[in-house]
């Protein structure tokens, strides 16, 4: 255990934390309702029930919340602090970033013994987040394209016209469904890594997503 005091740094601003937790809640909701929409169970006792109707309503409401959250986070990467900034998501673009990434990789691969401390994002994590955001955008576009078909020639249907040119309708469903599994894969990785670094760094990795504060031996520059 480090015998020195640690510095307390404010890393995650309020909008970043809000977006994170809205994403968590909406992704869980979307996955559960979405899986049901893909493979429904015959719950209903009578034709007057509205089981599927309500499940779809919850799915679409969560979809709007998710879309707003993802877009807000993207906007915040332009106006937030340096830890939230868009440059964080391309660590391999700078020499310093590449060094950080290399150290983290060596630690993960059991080559190095010293835990590399990161103030702000783990460079491996942000690389994954960039891919994740591409998946989010794909999910939002395919999801809303499928949704917009309830009102053909409407504003949403027309503005998503390029999607119908790029994908067949069933191809869009398959993409939307399969991307959910890819996001599941990411979630396992994400929770595991957060748990691991919380244990190894002693920097309040997990609680920082609630409080915004991390504790580091190196002073923030």
């Amino acid at each position: 255990m480090s015998d020195s005091c640690k510095f307390k740094c404010y890393i995650w601003e309020l909008p970043v934390r809000w977006c994170h937790w809205i994403n968590v809640v909406s992704i869980v909701t979307l996955a559960v309702t979405g899986f049901f929409i893909g493979t429904p169970v015959s719950f209903a006792g009578s034709a007057s029930d509205f089981t599927m109707g309500w499940i779809r309503f919850v799915h679409f409401t969560a979809a709007y919340a998710f879309a707003v959250s993802v877009l807000s986070r993207m906007v915040w990467s332009l106006i937030g602090n340096k830890y939230a900034g868009w440059k964080e998501f391309f660590p391999y673009a700078t020499a310093a970033g590449r060094e950080k990434m290399n150290k983290m990789l060596r630690y993960y691969m059991f080559v190095d013994k010293e835990v590399p401390e990161t103030i702000g994002h783990n460079p491996l994590a942000t690389t994954a987040y960039f891919a994740l955001f591409l998946l989010y955008i794909l999910m939002i576009l395919t999801g809303f394209s499928l949704y917009a078909q309830h009102a053909p020639q409407g504003v949403m249907h027309k503005s998503l016209g390029f999607m119908y040119a790029l994908f067949s309708d069933q191809g869009m469903r398959l993409t939307h469904h399969f991307s959910m599994w890819l996001i599941f894969g990411f979630i396992i990785n994400h929770i595991y890594s957060a748990w691991l670094m919380d244990i190894k760094e002693h920097g309040s990795e997990i609680s920082s997503m609630f409080s915004g504060y991390k504790f580091t031996v190196k002073k923030e520059k």
Binding site: T51, R173, W181, I188
Partner: protein, 384 residues
């Protein structure tokens, strides 16, 4: 659209008709021909009402449709058969509303149709040639079947000419071309992978032509009649979607007009063919119905004298009126397509579950190794 506007359009149709129709045979208006053929006024008005409904117009338009049809001269029409099964001709010959003998052939002057015309060989060729020369830019062309593009189009020939050549000549100088059926619209079954003949629809084969797509396997003959009536009444082709289909017939998803939709919303699904839910007429969503992916008016227009349509008879929609349906709408009895590149019957869920299980296992091993390792905590910077 106001009634006044319709009247003006009807007038413009009449004027155009006066200029363009110079054949002796075509001097009679549709109304006169029907009278000669002994079609009662009542039956004619019934037909007009049905057409008004098919065009998704309010019932108050029926008199305008009747008036316009009464006075308009019948247009010349040539019907070309390419790589097809003649299923759309069959659908037309069995059209209930109107029957082909009573009204369609009286509204349309079908000057060339290989399947039903009396002439054959050179006589038939001459009929086509004289029609397209005499009525250049004024006749309607109906194309049934896809057009082969590979190797100069040699895989589909009629009377020594490739279909591509015929299509470019005939559709190119037509007033408008109606691509009837999925093959003529998007290549259809002939265009399914690996598409050995390079089959495409008319829009792709003759890019300059004015094409109205009426996909479906077969196309609903009522939609063809309504398209022609729309042209006769309004003097222009109907409003179309991004895939070149008239909105009145393809503007809504099957799923959104389906009579089984309440069972979908309720959550009552057929789980197996012939189970209790199937006998009760519950939703066919889990049996691979492609209604949620298909735009067509089957639920309202129906087939065979409006008797039935696939979903009503207990089978899911096959998605036949969508582009590339043969490749993208399968498997017919599964909700989602198979994942390409993973062999037959590899579903997204199986692969996804494998992926997630793999990730979980990998991280479990990584976590176990991490629990065993002795490592150093983050150190203070070494600088003095």
């Amino acid at each position: 659209m106001s009634k006044q506007k319709v009247d003006t359009e009807v007038d413009s149709v009449k004027q155009r008709g006066d200029v363009s129709q110079d054949s002796e045979q075509q001097e009679y208006s549709v109304g006169e021909i029907l009278k000669q053929r002994g079609v009662s006024r009542r039956d004619f008005l019934k037909f007009c009402s049905a057409m008004t409904a098919a065009m998704s117009l309010p019932a108050s338009f029926a008199p305008s449709v009747a008036q316009a049809l009464d006075e308009v001269k019948r247009p010349t029409l040539v019907w070309l058969n390419f790589q097809d099964c003649t299923g759309d001709s069959e659908a037309l010959l069995r059209a209930a509303n109107p029957t082909v003998g009573e009204i369609i052939l009286d509204i349309l002057s079908v000057d060339y149709h290989e399947t039903i015309m009396a002439a054959a060989g050179h006589q038939a060729d001459e009929a086509l040639e004289s029609t397209i020369t005499k009525y250049k830019g004024k006749y309607l062309c109906v194309v049934e079947g896809s057009i082969s593009m590979k190797d100069g189009g040699i895989y589909g020939c009629t009377s020594g000419k490739t279909h591509l050549e015929i299509a470019r000549r005939v559709c190119g100088s037509a007033l408008a071309t109606i691509a009837i059926g999925t093959c003529a619209s998007y290549g259809g079954i002939a265009a399914g992978t690996p598409n050995p003949t390079g089959a495409v629809g008319v829009m792709e084969a003759v890019p300059g032509a004015t094409v109205i797509n009426l996909p479906g396997c077969p196309c609903n003959a009522d939609n063809l009649t309504a398209t022609v009536v729309h042209y006769l009444v309004f003097g222009k082709i109907p409003a179309m979607d991004s895939k070149g289909r008239p909105l009145f017939a393809y503007g809504k998803r099957i799923h959104d007009n389906c009579e089984r939709r309440p069972h979908f919303d309720a959550g009552q699904y057929v789980e197996h063919w012939g189970d209790d839910a199937h006998r009760k007429g519950f939703c066919l969503y889990k049996m691979g119905c492609k209604g949620p992916a298909t735009f067509h008016n089957c639920p309202t227009q129906r087939y065979n004298e409006k008797t039935s349509w696939p979903v009503a008879s207990g089978h899911g929609c096959a998605g036949c009126s969508e582009p590339d349906f043969w490749d993208t709408m399968g498997p017919m009895y599964h909700r989602l397509p198979n994942v390409p590149g993973f062999g037959i019957e590899a579903t997204a869920d199986k692969i996804g579950l494998g992926l997630v299980a793999g990730a979980a296992a990998a991280f479990a091993v990584h976590g176990a190794l991490n629990a065993l390792r002795k490592d150093k905590e983050p150190q203070e910077p070494k600088e003095g």
